[in-house]
């Protein structure tokens, strides 16, 4: 009877072997367990014993050829085959009689040793008969892809592909512990993805104060919930500067308040918002809430970090009132004396980054408002000025204003028309402007 001889699976991690040399010739009679072929895997070289007594009729692989485990290597004419519908019994010899392993330590792919035996150094009795019986039962059950019930159960419960779990058990078997470790590792990996900050030995941790934590939370909330978009304009502040310069002394002596660029900007924004209502709104529960009042928040660096006091009903206030409110809030913010109602109810925010020397910024919106605008540094620089159809270069005082806006609520068109409105108001200021 002719049967196919296959290359036995040797260890779970080995998938293929290279044929070094045939040890038998076609036509030769071969005894069961006689070495027939020498192979080398990525780990060891070994002789494969014949699984049967019989005659070698055909070699189906040649020397030097790479053969996947389980592939046919030869055809035998066999006399000792017992009818058996378990082909593995025919093709896989008992692990204990798989050929000689040369030039390697006893950790070969046959994996016949229990790894933990090496841990026991004292008083180990020689294997008893029952021990050997146990070995036999276990190794026969540990063929490839045999998983224990609990491993299958856990894998199903946690949606794990067991083939991706590396096994630490006998013959690389995946154990319950391996699956549990895998689950832990996946969980840790997920956390790591979220938090990839690494800490070096010379780094140190600072626990943020409660204000810092609130700011952090709000920034995260805003930047994660609001799809920010940005636009900016440059505003010619030359005339505003002249206005300030000519009115400073009288204004200050009269009102005991400093006249600043910010006042003009805040005033201009409050006016521009009345005609650009969608910038003075919030996106709440898939609805846009248009705010009835312009309550203008002013971002101020205070004792405890950033605070945003609010000028309520700024659209109804004149220049002087805005100026007074602004001065009052700024002073109290810097001293850390703001009350709760000072910081509540803002509908839009102005952030005066110019005092810090900044010329461009992309601020994070004060959630759930629709926008925040920065007033950057007023810079003296050359500018092309057109008058009477004639262009020339002049030194002007120029300020950038950068708007961050909630792109769910408005598009670039509305955003631009708003910043253009602000720009227009500011550029319409002159020395004769009524500062009341």
């Amino acid at each position: 009877m002719k049967i196919e001889i296959t290359l036995p699976q040797i260890g779970e991690s080995v998938t293929e072997a290279v044929v070094i040399k045939w040890l038998k010739n076609v036509g030769q009679d071969i005894e069961k367990y006689e070495p027939i072929i020498e192979i080398i895997t990525d780990k060891v070289s070994m002789e494969i014993p014949s699984p049967h007594t019989g005659k070698l009729i055909e070699k189906t692989v040649s020397e030097g050829e790479t053969v996947p485990m389980g592939n046919m290597i030869a055809v035998f004419d066999v006399i000792d085959v017992v009818e058996n519908n378990r082909p593995t019994d025919i093709t896989i010899p008992d692990q204990s009689i798989i050929g000689s392993i040369s030039d390697v330590a006893a950790v070969g792919p046959t994996g016949g040793e229990f790894k933990d035996n090496s841990l026991i150094t004292e008083d180990l009795p020689k294997q008893t008969r029952e021990d050997k019986d146990i070995d036999k039962v276990i190794s026969s059950d540990l063929e490839k892809n045999r998983y224990s019930p609990v491993v299958l159960k856990l894998a199903e419960q946690h949606g794990i592909d067991i083939t991706h779990v590396s096994g630490s058990g006998q013959n690389n078997r995946v154990t319950k512990k391996d699956v549990l470790n895998h689950i832990d590792k996946v969980n840790v990996d997920e956390v790591d993805v979220k938090n990839t900050i690494t800490v070096a030995s010379d780094d140190h941790f600072v626990t943020p104060n409660p204000f810092r934590k609130i700011i952090a939370d709000r920034m995260v909330e805003s930047s994660s919930k609001i799809p920010h978009a940005w636009t900016s304009v440059e505003v010619d502040m030359t005339e505003v500067k002249k206005c300030i310069d000519s009115n400073r002394e009288s204004f200050e002596s009269l009102h005991k308040i400093k006249l600043t660029y910010l006042t003009f900007a805040v005033h201009a924004v409050s006016r521009a918002l009345t005609s650009n209502k969608y910038l003075n709104s919030s996106w709440i529960d898939n609805k846009i809430v248009l705010r009835g009042n312009v309550n203008l928040g002013i971002a101020i660096a205070g004792l405890d970090g950033l605070s945003v006091p609010v000028i309520h009903n700024a659209d109804g206030l004149g220049f002087l009132d805005i100026c007074k409110k602004l001065s009052d809030l700024t002073m109290r913010a810097r001293k850390g004396e703001l009350q709760l109602n000072d910081v509540e109810g803002g509908t839009f925010t102005v952030n005066n980054t110019g005092t810090l020397g900044s010329i461009l910024g992309g601020a994070i919106i004060n959630y759930p408002q629709a926008g925040i605008i920065t007033t950057e540094s007023v810079v003296r620089r050359p500018m092309v000025i057109k008058s009477n159809n004639k262009e020339d270069i002049q030194i002007r005082s120029v300020m950038n204003m950068c708007l961050s806006f909630d792109h769910r609520i408005v598009d670039g068109l509305e955003a631009s028309s708003f910043v253009q409105a602000v720009k227009k108001i500011l550029e319409s200021i002159n020395t004769r402007t009524n500062l009341t």
Partner: protein, 327 residues
């Protein structure tokens, strides 16, 4: 609490039960004048008189027959079988009669007797003084079989056995008699029959055992801990009815079970425990159930070398545990 040996715990408990309850009496070979071959009833005849401490002929069948008759008629006999190896003539009385009295009388009669049986080997006792006989009784519905391993359990379980209204086979491992000592409260405590106990908690593997083997298993568990294997130890304590709940809970947690017993494997307590695990823990198993038992040969050998080789030992248990944990 005083520290006493297992035999002292047994002696104190019988004495205390006899003092409390006049219907309790003892009978057996050499238990009176000799005080019992293991001195379990030393001084009892002086204390309670020959009517309550009855020396019998060498006739185990009669000892048990008398016990059954008196129990059915309202007494609470404690019969002593001198060695488990001698119980066989009494098996008809115990298995054939005592176990069936409640059932056979429509519950009108009960048989509240305790049969104390020193059993087990490892004492160089040879063929006739080393036998494990628990299976024949554990197989029999109508009997309760108790096998304590510690002095505390021996006392609490013996008290429960004497007070129980059904026949209880009380197995005392003779090697534990003087080898094992422990704290035993002087009060009247009982331990419920049919309850196993986790003698050591662990995570990686459960060893289920009873009797003398418990102590080897506990010693081995300490060694295994050093090897990085956390072993949970279940002491069955009662062999019938067996405590399925504790076995299932522990094996479901660890996923691996080793059963260690002094008795041979085939059709034994380990077979029953293994069946319970297969029935109830299958989907929590991470490895095949393993048993560590002696060779399947007729007797425990008399030769000291062979006896040691025959019995499970601390080293063999450690070896089996590390093997099972590495699968």
């Amino acid at each position: 609490m005083p520290i006493v040996s297992v035999i002292e715990a047994v002696r104190d408990t019988i004495r205390s039960e006899m003092k409390q309850n006049p219907s309790v009496f003892i009978l057996g070979e050499d238990i009176g004048a000799r005080g019992g071959v293991f001195l379990a009833t030393d001084g009892f005849v002086e204390l309670f008189g020959p009517e309550r401490v009855i020396d019998t002929p060498l006739a185990e069948s009669s000892i048990c027959g008398i016990a059954i008759g008196s129990a059915v008629n309202g007494m609470r006999p404690i019969a002593e079988i001198q060695f488990a190896d001698f119980v066989w003539p009494a098996v008809n009385q115990i298995v054939g009669e005592a176990s069936k009295i409640r059932y056979g009388t429509y519950g009108k009669k009960i048989c509240p007797m305790t049969i104390r049986i020193p059993y087990g080997g490892g004492v160089r006792g040879g063929l006739y003084h080393s036998q494990s006989i628990e299976v024949i009784f554990s197989h029999t519905p109508g009997l309760k079989v108790v096998a304590p391993a510690t002095a505390y359990d021996a006392s609490g379980l013996l008290r429960s056995a004497i007070r129980d209204d059904d026949p209880v086979i009380f197995l005392e491992h003779k090697k534990t008699y003087r080898l094992v000592k422990g704290e035993v409260p002087s009060d009247d405590y009982t331990i419920p029959l049919g309850k196993a106990e986790i003698k050591r908690e662990g995570e990686d593997l459960t060893v289920i055992t009873y009797g003398l083997m418990l102590h080897y298993v506990l010693q081995s568990a300490v060694e295994c801990e050093k090897l990085g294997i956390s072993v949970e130890v279940v002491d069955l304590r009662t062999l019938r009815p067996i405590d399925r709940e504790t076995i299932v809970k522990s094996v479901s947690k660890t996923g691996r079970a080793l059963i260690v017993q002094e008795d041979t494997a085939a059709v034994s307590i380990s077979s029953e425990v293994s069946a319970i695990i297969s029935e109830e823990c299958f989907f929590d198993l991470d490895a095949p159930i393993m048993r560590l038992t002696p060779l399947e040969i007729p007797p425990m050998p008399f030769s000291p070398i062979q006896e040691s080789e025959y019995l499970p030992s601390k080293q063999k248990i450690t070896s089996a545990v590390s093997k099972l944990s590495s699968i």
